[in-house]
Amino acid sequence: MASRVALKTKSKGAKGGAKPADERSAVKCLKEWSTWTIKKAKVITHYGFIPMVIIIGMSSEPRPSISQLLSPI
């Protein structure tokens, strides 16, 4: 009897513990995903910002030529 009661409370405890564990892992997933996105965005900005500015500038009117971009004068 005592063991059955103990079993019941154990299963209840396990069920009660599963729900918040699900929610916690969903929040954790979201946090991990947003951290991953911010890290990737930082790397992309770090390497890609200046090339992006150069591409936007080279495609604006009047179009400068590549030799003007590379020569030092």
Partner: protein, 295 residues
């Protein structure tokens, strides 16, 4: 030495309707000028008293490829300060080369600078609509946890401006400034820094006429800053500044002058810490500027 001066990002306020001296003053409270942005409230005194002083040799070359697009190459050799535990300041001689690209459009401005040690300094300013502007700036490094980014959304109304700031490390800020009379503008700001668990609130006031500008700013971080700039003539202006921190009982007062002449601009200041500084910018030739700085 050609230097790149970033363009003024905000238009000057339109002249107030009662600026004619012959007519009696009749203030139209429905038609007040737009105030200057909250972070530029000390603009005149900053321009006179805080020029970009540097130590060493700096050579800037800006090459324009287009009306809107330009590249810049900059070489700097000089001592830089290294934070140290002792009271002495340690200076280490460094040299670096900086490459930059700027794209300036009436609606969008992109500014990027990258140094030889991998640090990127980027600024973006974009007019999303006639009254709403997005400004973002970021300093990215290769070292972990040393990068910063901040984005501002500015909304400009007919006689007020409001700004919302978001930064990394859970930094939030908001500010609002309103023109109360044609000469007086009052504003306030509030910020919250999640990482350092700090928050603060501050108020500012600015009174300007054609000849002088007086500003005052109080913040809950303990800072009180007052400044007064008098335009003595077209070419000369004098500025004074008083900063007091009532938490740490730290007081600094400075006095400075600003001469804007045809070929050069000379700024000098003296501080209550016993520090004098002078900054001379001279146009030697078309496109060649010469700068001398001393502190």
């Amino acid at each position: 030495m050609a230097t790149l001066v970033p363009p003024a990002t905000n238009p000057p306020p339109p002249p107030s309707p009662d600026s004619k001296p012959a007519e009696p003053e009749k203030v139209d409270y429905m038609d007040l000028p737009c105030p200057i942005p909250y972070e530029e409230i000390h603009r005149e005194s900053f321009m006179s008293l805080k020029p970009e002083l540097f130590e060493g040799l700096r050579f800037d070359f800006t090459k324009g490829l287009n009306q809107r697009f330009s590249l810049s190459h900059s070489v700097f050799m000089g001592p830089t300060e290294v934070p140290s535990q002792s009271a002495e300041v340690i200076k280490i001689p460094t040299a670096h080369y900086e490459f930059g690209a700027n794209f300036i459009d009436p609606k969008m401005m992109l500014f990027g600078r990258i140094l030889t040690d991998g640090r990127l300094n980027a600024r973006v300013k974009c007019d999303l609509s006639e009254n709403l502007t997005l400004k973002a700036n970021a300093q990215l490094t290769n070292e972990p946890h040393m990068s910063h980014g901040m984005a501002n959304f500015d909304y400009k109304g007919s006689d007020f401006r409001t700004q919302l700031q978001l930064g990394n490390g859970a930094l939030f800020g908001a500010s609002y400034i309103q023109s109360v009379t044609p000469h007086l503008a009052l504003g306030g700001e509030v910020f919250w820094a999640g990482q350092h668990r700090k928050s603060g609130i501050g108020y500012a006031a600015r009174y300007n006429t054609d000849k002088m500008v007086a500003t005052g700013q109080v913040a809950s971080t303990g800072m009180v800053a007052l400044s007064y700039v008098q335009k003595v003539s077209e070419k000369v202006s004098l500025a004074s500044d008083f900063m007091y921190n009532y938490m740490s009982r730290d007081v600094t007062a400075s006095l400075g002058y600003d001469y804007i002449l045809r070929q050069c601009r000379l700024r000098g200041k003296i501080d209550s810490n016993g520090c004098t500084a002078a900054f001379l910018e001279e146009r030697l030739n078309m496109g060649l500027n010469f700068i001398l700085s001393a502190e």
